[in-house]
């Protein structure tokens, strides 16, 4: 008989014992460790996935922050550009205004200088005209210019119209009653001789019909002229008329030059 019943029974028992021992010492331990490892790996994967999700969320958050910052930066840049543009406009306007002011100042200075020049020119011209006229009259006509001027002034006094004469008379009388007799003044550009003074006193008395004694003063600014004045009235003769003509001519020249320079700009 190939099959031995006793051996079969013993082998069955042996095998069952082996199953029990291997289960206890091998399979349970190995399976537990495999399961634990799988569980741990699964946990680690889950953690890694969670971390990846967190990282993605963080990345998204950072991206949003960056986009927000970029938008803010662009807004600020645009705002600054607008402000700069506005400031530039303001500054340009201020600069133009300043240029205009400087230009006006310059024009005023030019005007002042022109006025001063004309005044000086007038004074020098009068002096020269006076000197030349005096010399010409002295040498050719044997006549003093001052005398001629006084004659011309006396003629002017005599030829005064009635209204002006009355106004002057009234003004001279008013001054006389208020303060002193010397309220009437005779100003000349040159010193007067006694004869000339007497002549002038006589003519003033005739004009005012009053006992007025005018005071005599030398005033170089009159330039070759003579004037009789009270508080508010004045009768004068000088080279003013000639000089006015000369001044107008020079002013015209100045104006022409200015227009020419403007055209050139």
């Amino acid at each position: 008989m190939i099959i031995d019943i006793f051996t079969v029974l013993v082998q069955i028992i042996n095998f069952l014992i082996l199953v029990f021992l291997l289960k206890k010492f091998l399979f349970n331990r190995i399976l537990n460790i495999i399961d634990e490892r799988e569980s741990q790996i699964g946990k680690q994967f889950a953690e890694a996935e969670q971390k990846e999700k967190d990282a993605e969320q963080e990345l998204e958050k950072q991206r949003e922050i960056r986009e927000k910052l970029e938008r803010e930066w662009e807004d600020n840049l645009a705002k600054i550009k607008r402000e700069i543009e506005a400031k530039r406009g303001t500054m340009m306007a201020e600069a133009r205004e300043a240029v205009k002011e400087v230009q006006a100042e310059w024009e005023r200075a030019i005007l002042t200088q022109r006025e001063a020049f004309l005044k000086e020119l007038r004074r020098l011209s009068c002096q020269q005209v006076f000197v030349i006229s005096k010399k010409v009259l002295s040498e050719l006509a044997n006549t003093r210019l001052e005398d001629q001027l006084i004659d011309s002034f006396i003629t002017q006094l005599e030829e005064l119209d009635e209204q002006k004469r009355e106004e002057f008379k009234w003004d001279a009388a008013k001054g006389l009653s208020e303060q002193s007799k010397n309220r009437v003044e005779i100003n000349t550009a040159f010193p007067l001789s006694e004869e000339s003074k007497d002549l002038l006193l006589k003519k003033v008395k005739q004009l005012t019909n009053n006992d007025i004694i005018p005071s005599f003063h030398i005033s170089p600014s009159l330039i070759c002229g003579i004037e009789l004045r009270t508080e508010s009235k004045k009768i004068a003769w000088s080279m003013e008329n000639y000089l006015d003509t000369l001044e107008r001519g020079l002013k015209d020249i100045f104006v022409e030059n200015k227009e020419f320079s403007n055209l050139k700009e």
Binding site: I3, I5, F6, Q11, F27
Partner: protein, 237 residues
């Protein structure tokens, strides 16, 4: 030359005796337990795992995957039984290479004992999974008339299991012995190598078949569930 190691008796007392089959079985058991103890005394999760542990993890992982593929169920309840079966047969056949060692699987008594264990394991696992009634209902499927054939099937496949393993291993050892007499050089070595390969294949076949039988018995529960689900869905429609 003895066909079966059962006939090699070392000690005898009245009805009890210790033959080569029992002794070699104890040796195989000792080797397996020694390896298990060596491998599992310092089990670690990581980082450095011992070679013993890796080897056993690979073997047990392979067994687990195979059982899972075949049964389509949680393999853990089956592993101790089927794993022990595979390891026992495999190591027995592997030790055949040691001169003078007679593998216990070359004894029809051993293979019969293993087949009897499988024979009883099938209803135990089946009842544990599907319940007493559902399990025995399988023998009446598809008709009551099939009951005798089903019972014969159960016995015949158990017998086939035992004889297949015995025949293969016994013939391997026997051929090696005969060739050793005829041509003592080289040829027996080649035959030994073939014997090792055949031994491992037989271990695999025996375990796979046992798995298929146990798995199909345990499958009754799933079939019942599927049937109920089908009926439920038809009622809903």
């Amino acid at each position: 030359m003895e066909i079966t190691p059962d006939n090699i008796i070392y000690w005898q007392w009245e009805g009890f005796h210790l033959n080569a089959t029992i002794i070699s079985t104890w040796l195989v058991m000792l080797v397996l337990l020694l390896i298990s103890w060596l491998a599992t005394r310092n089990l670690v999760m990581r980082p450095k795992i011992s070679r013993w542990q890796v080897s056993l993890e690979v073997v047990i992982g392979f067994i687990r995957e195979q059982i899972k593929e075949i049964t389509q169920q949680n393999p853990d309840p089956f592993i101790p039984f089927l794993g022990s079966l595979f390891l026992f047969i495999s190591v027995s056949n592997l030790l055949d290479i040691i001169p003078g060692f007679r593998p216990p699987t070359g004894s029809l008594s051993t293979t019969t004992a293993l087949a009897v264990c499988v024979f009883f394991a099938i209803p135990i696992f089946g009842i544990a999974r599907a319940g007493f009634k559902n399990y025995f209902k399988q023998y009446l499927e598809p008709s009551v008339l099939m009951l005798p054939f089903n019972i014969i099937g159960e016995f015949s496949r158990t017998l086939a299991l035992a004889v297949r393993l015995f025949g293969n291993i016994m013939s391997g050892s026997l051929i090696a012995g005969i060739l050793l007499i005829i041509a003592p050089l080289f040829l027996p070595i080649i035959m030994q190598v073939f014997g090792l390969l055949i031994g491992q294949i037989q271990a695999y076949i025996f375990t796979i078949l046992a798995t298929v039988y146990i798995g199909s018995a345990a499958q009754a529960e799933n079939e019942l569930k599927m049937k109920k689900e089908k009926e439920g869905s038809e009622n809903n429609e």
